[in-house]
């Protein structure tokens, strides 16, 4: 069967109000002043891997194309290097907008399938919630187990290297006053854009 794919978005694809919601998140207020100059896309070291460039993401968010944005690979490829934010002539905190989109994508569980980054972010947050600190080797092992055994196996060299250099920590780091931290976090749960959906 000969299939075609529409390359232009229709008005019906928009989710009215989405852009406004994102602009309401802390640090994202400047989005309306985007002039679509593309400085962000030029400054970003990962644009070449993205399905939408950062400039396009800014336009799509502003125009309420929620599904396209939240399902994009772009937001997950952002490594938070802040090159775009520092360069933006309109002082738009593009990195913070990417964070707001990550939060929404995790909350609504619409991130691309097979994307390990949102899983890592969630596992990371869970470990912090329960221990107060991160033990990197445990976190990474957990992620590998989740992904697949083959991936875990292919990284055996790295594991052995870490053991050899005395950096393979198996005893979880934790803080003393874990309850205090949990109490603090509970006061803001469900108040933010991400709503701590774990």
């Amino acid at each position: 069967m000969f299939t075609v794919k529409r390359t232009i978005k229709y008005d019906a694809d928009r989710v009215k109000g989405f852009g406004r919601e994102i602009m309401g998140v802390t640090g994202c207020e400047q989005l309306p002043s985007c002039i679509q100059c593309g400085t962000c896309s030029g400054a970003c070291p990962l644009t070449i891997y993205m399905d939408f460039s950062p400039r396009q993401i800014m336009a799509l968010v502003r125009a309420d194309f929620k599904n396209e944005v939240l399902k994009s690979k772009t937001v997950w490829l952002c490594a938070s290097c802040y090159a775009c934010t520092v360069e933006c002539p309109r002082q738009i905190r593009i990195t913070d907008i990417m964070y707001a989109l990550k939060q929404r994508a995790i909350k609504e569980k619409v991130y691309p399938r097979n994307m390990p980054i949102p899983i890592l972010a969630r596992d990371f947050a869970k470990m912090v919630l329960s221990k107060g600190r991160i033990t990197e080797t445990l976190l990474v092992m957990q992620l590998f187990m989740r992904a697949n055994w083959r991936a875990a196996f292919s990284s055996w060299r790295l594991g052995i290297g870490l053991i050899r250099t005395g950096r393979f920590v198996l005893k979880p780091e934790r803080i003393e006053r874990r309850q205090e931290l949990a109490d603090m976090l509970s006061t803001v749960r469900n108040s933010g854009n991400g709503k701590g959906h774990l």
Binding site: Q103, A121, V128, R133, G166, V169, G192
Partner: protein
Amino acid sequence: MKYSYFPGCSLKGLGRAYEESLLPVMAHLGVELQELEDWNCCGATAYMSVDEHEASVLATRNLAIAEKQGPFDLVAPCSACYLVLNKSKNNIRDFPEVRESVHRALDKVGMAYTGKVNVRHPLDILFHDVGVEAIKQKVVRPLKGLKVAPYYGCQVVRPYATFDEAWNPVTMDKILEALGAEIVHYPLKTKCCGGSLTGTVPEAGLRMCYILLKEAVRRGADVIATICPLCQFNLDGYHDQIEKKWGAARIPTVYFTQLMGLAFGFEPKQLGLNRHFVSTRSIASAVREPASVGKA
């Protein structure tokens, strides 16, 4: 000189060589670092992707502890910690909704934060408080002939640092120069290493590392000096995979504090130089050459 000290999770784990070299070097220069009691994870980039309010609360608990315990200058050596703590501090100041939610969380457990803490990087302390002259005076084994590519990465210089420049920072260059090292012109000094993408999207992440490594080799560097535990791990830990994909670009990547320690006369092992994947023996032996006997 006394400061509060926020080590962060990495410096107790994969990046322990950073702490192992930072503490003796700072002590040697008369800088006392007092570790924050019961500090918690800053949240890094990962927690920020989950919930922005929880991320602020997480970071602010540390600021509140620093404010209670003093001194107010808080040293954060890890780039992610430095950024996140600074970001929270700034957001509390600039956004009423953040201030409100953070105070609500602190109130609940009887803590307080009034904005007095300054989050600072070791480079800032060394360059502005200790000074290049004082560092020079402590050098007993000058790093003569050692060609160093200074690599700052992203999150210390962008977007919150006020002590150096976002694209062409020079504080580490000047410190390494004071040790006698030769600074290689390295225009990629603030290009991102890919962060956690090396593990999650290796095609993109590892290539970013490869570009950084290859460029340092091409410019004749013997070693890359870094200020971030994740940059160090990325540039050091994946050489076998990088080699297979794109070709060899083998060069050691060490913390700038390890180079300081060598120049100050510490033994490589005391500085965690045995904790690297790529052998660092060539650096240590280059430095050991007696430079003091007045060779030209």
